[in-house]
Structures are given as structure tokens and as C-alpha cells.
Symmetry: C2
Subunit: 148 residues, 2 copies
């Protein structure tokens, strides 16, 4: 299960993606539209800013802006920032590799092999699908479909 925080982050980024590049969106506005607790959203956006996904301006006419086109922002990247590794086992994570605490030889781990398939499958989806894909209207035209 992805966390509530990650869901909020994705929805916030989606909201920002609808915005013109010189029209920042207020935290309060994003929170209101998406029914996200405002103070919680502040933290989330700040985190996204620290990781370079969004920018912000303070004061009058301030708010948040997306720093990349939504189509260049994979869902997987957002999830990694917020929820940590996509992989189902630490020893399968590309970005945050860690041998599992309890198996002494990673290569010999029986469980690893099967979950490597899962890791590959989810990566294939989450690194291809972007925030722009979240916006797809009626199941129709998606941005990055292989078939189209």
C-alpha cells in the first residue's frame, strides 16, 4: 500500500501540472481543492521542493510551481521520495540497496528471485507512467503508452 502522504503528493503535483508556468498555486488552494490537511501538505510540498521537483515563491502572488513538465515526472520518482524504495525487498532496491538483515548471502536468497520479478514489473510501470498520465481524461489518450 502506498501511503496517504504519497497520494497527497501525487494529487498536489497533478494540481500544479494544470497551472501555467508563471502562475503559482497556493498551498491553501491545493489543500482545499483536494481535501488535503493544509499543514500536512505544507510539509509535503517542502519536501518535494528540497528534492527539486517544485519551486516556490513567498508573499503576495506566491505559491508553488512545477519545475518540470508533468510528462517528465515519473510516478515512481515521487513515490521513492515520499515512501522510500519501490522494491519489495531492500536487497532489490536500485536506489537504496541494502542486504536483507537476515540472509547472509544475497545471491543465495530464495525469496529474492521471485520478488525480483515483482520489482521489475512495478518499476516498468512506475518509471514509465508520469504525473501527466494521472490527468488522462476518460481512459483515452495517455502520454507514454507503448502501443500508441
Amino acid at each position: 500500500m502506498i501511503s496517504q502522504k504519497a497520494k497527497y503528493a501525487l494529487r498536489a503535483l497533478l494540481a500544479l501540472s494544470h497551472q501555467a508556468a508563471d502562475q503559482p498555486l497556493l498551498i491553501a488552494e491545493i489543500a482545499r481543492r483536494n481535501r488535503i490537511p493544509r499543514k500536512f501538505l505544507e510539509q509535503i510540498l517542502l519536501e518535494l521542493k528540497h528534492h527539486g521537483l517544485v519551486a516556490s515563491r513567498r508573499g503576495q502572488a506566491g505559491g508553488y510551481l512545477l519545475l518540470r513538465p508533468a510528462a517528465d515526472l515519473p510516478i515512481g520518482e515521487v513515490l521513492r521520495l515520499i515512501d522510500g524504495p519501490l522494491a519489495p525487498l531492500p536487497c532489490l532496491s536500485k536506489m537504496a540497496y541494502r542486504p536483507c538483515a537476515d540472509c547472509q548471502d544475497v545471491e543465495q536468497c530464495e525469496i529474492r528471485r521471485v520478488f525480483a520479478e515483482v520489482a521489475a514489473a512495478t518499476r516498468a510501470i512506475l518509471e514509465r507512467r508520469t504525473v501527466a498520465d494521472l490527468a488522462a481524461p476518460d481512459g483515452g489518450a495517455e502520454t507514454n503508452t507503448v502501443s500508441g
Copy 2:
């Protein structure tokens, strides 16, 4: 990430799968071989028993037995018992469907669409791969490969 408990459960089931059908395996033995905390393993096996995956005998020559051939025991079934739904969102779970707390219309949820792909992909793997697949020796003969 799958839980430590689920890893233990899978390893325990794998250990049981190597056993003859009339030769129960002791909790203590499974724990020792797989470096699983013994009392924790007791709970896990009990849970698996309550869900009908294994049987047990008490007293002298007691221990645990697998109730189905390992090849009929999908990894996904074990994970569901131990870690809960496989789906990345509650509203995508087949076994434990729940609308997400914060979106009022499930059909309209933007996030849902992309994660439905993830759910389908992981299900495809975890419902096909079984405990028997964990045992596959050197990357060679697996039980359920589509290609072979």
C-alpha cells in the same frame, strides 16, 4: 516492502515443502535452520494453520506439515495472509476492497488508474509463482513458467 514476518512465513513453508508428507518438522528445527526467532515463528505457523495452509501434531514426533503441494501454494496467498492486501491502494484490492478514505468517487480517482496497472502486474506474478518456485535450484527449471 514485504514484512520480515512474511519472509519468515515463506521460508518456513519452503522448509516444510522439503518434508515427506508423514514427517512433521519441528518449529524449533525450522527456526534453527532459517535463523528465525523461535517464538515469533510459533505465532506465524499458528496463523498459517488457522488459515488452513499447514497442519500440526503435538507431543512426541509432532511438528508441522504442509497441507498442499508447494506448487499449489501461490506466494501471493501467503503474502495476503501475513501482510494484507497485495494491492497498492485499498480500492484496488480484490480480497479486501475498501474505498480510499479521501476520494469520494472511486471511479473518478486519478491515482487509481495508474496503480491498477501495478496491481495487475504484481498479481500476475504473485498468483502464479508458488512456494515451489522458491526452491528452484540454480536459476533453472521453474514450475510455472509460461514459456516452459
